[in-house]
Symmetry: C2
DNA sequence: CCTTGACCTTCCCGTGACTGGAACCCCTAT
DNA sequence: ATAGGGGTTCCAGTCACGGGAAGGTCAAGG
């Protein structure tokens, strides 16, 4: 299977697949003409990576998770620890964004949004409360 | 006022302040020895920028907002439009993160987290449902 | 007068996870 | 022979800074 077909099947851009090879997440074989040859296990790994990335895991987390995935003697506790760490980061980010949203939507609500210059949004940003 | 004092007063790192000058957000004067000299208006702008960045506005949004802030003849509608666009992005990101959190926390809940290899998290990432 | 240490300056590289583009090779069909 | 649609490598750019090197400036102390 060539990279274009793999991109179609996995939903990952060819550029991303090449990048994953470059950083050592996958190691597809090569044809005589230099083309990458992807096999079933490569597709499997790429799908794994796509799902992990979609859940927001970093590349380094993905690398670790992939190693655990391949390791039949892993302890599920190791996986769970990584996942919980990531979940905590997600929740922290959600909290940050919620705070931004609240502040911003209050400012927006207070703003007339017409052609006059008076603007509570700018006042808020300027430090005038 | 030198950059160190400004950093203390605004809470922005000196590196960030220099960067803001480099990209033209502020234009502090210079002393004879080459040191930046910050005046009241520079501090004001930097505080504005700090608040806008804390609300997650991009640098380019900040540039526009700052221009509107300085423009006494602005229409508040222009400000409101930018703010609403940004709010929409924040809300989209929150929705994404909520979806990630839900999926991830379900997987985590299903995982024993002990020393055995069975792991619903890895199964989920591997595509086995 | 010299040194020490805390400032300040510019410049360049690195971050994360790709994305875009250039220049070039390979294969098939016409 | 050529046209096109693959593929390849390599380089540069993204965003908003942060780290660190190499060196200039200034006030205080010995």
């Amino acid at each position: 299977m060539n990279i274009g077909d793999v991109a179609t099947h996995t939903g990952l851009p060819a550029k991303t697949i090449r990048y994953y090879e470059e950083i050592g997440l996958i190691t597809p074989q090569r044809e005589l003409n230099g083309y990458r040859r992807f096999r079933e296990q490569d597709l499997h790994k790429l799908n794994f990576l796509g799902r992990a990335r979609a859940l927001g895991f970093t590349i380094e987390d993905c690398r670790t998770l992939l190693a655990l995935y391949e390791d039949e003697t892993r302890a599920s506790a190791d996986v769970k620890r990584i996942a919980r760490g990531h979940l905590a980061q997600i929740e922290a980010k959600i909290a940050d964004l919620n705070a931004m949203r609240d502040t911003l939507s209050h400012l927006i609500d207070a703003c007339a949004g017409d052609d006059r210059p008076d603007c509570p949004i700018l006042q808020g940003l300027g430090g005038e409360d």
